[in-house]
């Protein structure tokens, strides 16, 4: 007889060994995010023990060497630059996705999608460098010094634009063709069809795309570090230099010691909290989309 029976008998064993092994790997992958949280907390613990959280927004200034830990200006800079970038990138990204779906001839749409994908793949340090050497001097001519909140917003916009464009693109692809046929049968113009049927149908997907883009904008470090000027202050205009939370960590981590270092980990925790909040919102919108 041709069959070797030992091979057959070990069936459930090979599969269950494999399953156990895979479970272990999956547990490890899932544990990373918990490890991150644990280590952020344990590293910030020294300063959290004797500095109440309220002082991180009520202290006179950010001078960790003197025990002053006000991160509010940097928090403001992070929120302002992200908000600006999201406000600019949202219409651009939606327009770009609409262009691919309803306006461009097929060949052009393919080319456009490829461009977006390439833009998404350009490293943030290259965006930052380009902003520093090309964009900042241009804006500086308008109003010195050039490295400013505005420059940061423009560079961030370019960086999160692909995120918006790609997620909206996916959301548009999910709009049932029957809706479009129905709209076309009513003799609507292209724009009324998009405005009246397509965008409402895709709104959950669009909303979660915007949330994800905001997550990227808040977390972005290198580009904003290179073009925003890094002065710790509340900006009085778009042309003022600002320092974001992320930039602050990148700048000071290299030499921070003791409580200063722990305070930087606290800003890290604050960043993570913001991001988690946004991810939660995105998740909410995604589930909303699943119900529609």
């Amino acid at each position: 007889m041709i069959w070797s029976w030992h091979n057959i008998l070990s069936l459930s064993r090979t599969d269950s060994i494999l399953a156990a092994l895979l479970r272990l790997c999956a547990l490890l992958s899932a544990a990373i995010v918990i490890l991150i949280l644990l280590f952020l907390i344990s590293e910030s613990w020294p300063v959290l023990q004797h500095v109440p959280l309220s002082r991180f927004i009520s202290d006179a200034s950010w001078h960790p060497a003197q025990g002053l830990y006000n991160i509010a200006p940097m928090l403001g800079a992070t929120l302002l630059s992200s908000l600006g970038a999201v406000l600019l990138a949202t219409p651009l990204g939606i327009a770009s996705a609409l262009f691919c779906h309803y306006y461009a001839p097929t060949a052009l749409a393919i080319w456009h999608r490829r461009t977006i994908a390439l833009l998404a793949g350009i490293p943030s340090v290259v965006y930052g460098f380009w902003g520093l050497t090309t964009l900042a001097p241009l804006i500086g001519r308008l109003h010195p010094p050039g490295v400013s909140l505005l420059t940061g917003i423009v560079v961030l916009t370019m960086m999160i634009l692909p995120t918006v464009a790609l997620t909206v693109d996916a959301a548009l692809a999910g709009v049932p063709a029957a809706y479009l046929r129905g709209a076309a049968a009513l003799g609507l113009t292209r724009w009324s069809m998009i405005n009246g049927v397509v965008l409402p149908a895709a709104r959950s997907g669009i909303a979660s795309g915007i949330m994800l883009a905001a997550v990227r904008a808040i977390g972005e470090t290198m580009a904003i570090l290179m073009v925003a000027g890094n002065v710790v202050q509340y900006p009085d205009s778009l042309f003022a230099s600002v320092r974001t939370l992320t930039a602050n960590i990148a700048l000071e981590m290299a030499y921070a010691m003791g409580d200063h270092r722990a305070a930087l980990f606290v800003t890290g925790l604050a960043l993570l909290a913001m991001v988690l909040l946004l991810v939660g919102f995105a998740e909410f919108f995604k589930q909303d989309a699943a119900h529609v």
């Binding site: 069936l11 090979t14 599969d15 494999l18 399953a19 092994l21 895979l22 479970r23 790997c25 999956a26 547990l27 992958s29 899932a30 990373i32 995010v33 490890l35 991150i36 280590f39 952020l40 651009l92 327009a95 770009s96 609409l98 262009f99 306006y103 461009a104 456009h112 461009t115 977006i116 793949g121 490293p123 943030s124 340090v125 290259v126 930052g128 460098f129 380009w130 520093l132 050497t133 370019m158 113009t189 292209r190 724009w191 009324s192 998009i194 997550v215 808040i218 977390g219 470090t221 570090l225 290179m226 960590i249 990148a250 981590m253 290299a254 980990f265 993570l272 946004l278 991810v279 998740e283």
Partner: protein, 278 residues
């Protein structure tokens, strides 16, 4: 002027703006970068804080960092993806827990990975400022990308293969190895590509894990400077380093592009090979 016409004009203008910006960025990089780019630039060590000389040790360090990241993250990611798609029901608590925590991991900002890598790999595990610390930090970052694309690839493999293989008395492992993974290969390769791209482009997570040292690394316990860190350093901390930074930026972008093409070519060949040989 009707709304419809206005919308058409605006949307075409946006598309034009994006393409125009892309072309501008590309030509700008080429014009400035090609000035300094030469074989000597690629093969020499940096001199005078990088203002002159080349980037050979930096390219080497970058390659080692990415290699460590992928060697660690790819098997772990593949195993996790296989577990999620083939060995757990989608509604199971464990599966949902893993997916949820990976979603969160995917959105953690890179600077947070830097903080974590510094605290965990450099200090807690005692690896110091080293390529190993940096590579492992990058592995954590690339992991969700690898898993997500592998899960998508495996989920898109037809269920009929699973049923037909089971009906022939094949183990799940065998069906996976011979049928599902080859079917999902393009997605796996695409994920690998994205992972390499993310790791190769990363800066913020590396500044305080693998460090700034621009000498040729001799082992993975040496500190090493990634190409992206080099660009950052030249642009921000080295007056007169712009020309070198331009060249390095061009090299980085070209490198990422080349790696992607190679990965795609390899998958195509691998798939063709799978049809005949065992």
């Amino acid at each position: 002027m009707s709304k419809d016409f206005l919308a058409t004009v605006m949307i075409w203008l946006t598309a034009l703006l994006i393409s125009g910006f892309f072309l501008y960025l590309l030509t700008d990089m080429l014009i400035h970068g090609l000035d300094r780019l030469s074989w000597a630039y690629l093969l020499d060590a940096p001199l005078d804080a990088g203002r002159s000389g080349g980037i050979a040790p930096i390219v080497t360090a970058t390659a080692i960092l990415v290699l460590i990241a992928i060697i660690v993250a790819a098997p772990l990611g593949l195993a996790t993806a296989v577990l999620l798609t083939e060995f757990t029901r989608q509604k199971s608590h464990f599966g949902r827990f893993v997916e949820r925590s990976l979603d969160v991991l995917a959105s953690v900002p890179s600077i947070i990975f830097g903080l974590f890598g510094n605290a965990f790999f450099c200090l807690f595990l005692g690896l110091g400022f080293s390529l190993l610390s940096g590579g492992l930090t990058l592995a954590c970052m690339a992991l969700p990308i690898l898993i997500r694309s592998a899960v998508e690839g495996l989920r898109s493999a037809p269920d009929e293969y699973r049923l037909a293989a089971a009906a022939l008395g094949m183990t799940r492992g065998a069906a996976l190895l011979h049928l599902l993974l080859p079917t999902a290969a393009p997605a796996l390769a695409a994920g690998l590509m994205l992972g390499i791209g993310r790791a190769g482009a990363e800066t913020a997570a590396l500044i305080f894990t693998s460090g700034y040292v621009d000498r040729m690394p001799e082992s993975w316990f040496d500190s090493g400077r990634a190409l992206s860190v080099h660009i950052y350093d030249l642009a921000m901390n080295v007056p007169g380093g712009d020309a070198s930074a331009h060249a390095a930026a061009l090299v980085l972008v070209l490198l990422l592009f080349t790696i992607n093409s190679i990965a795609m070519g390899l998958t195509r060949r691998w798939q063709r090979g799978r049809i005949h040989s065992l």
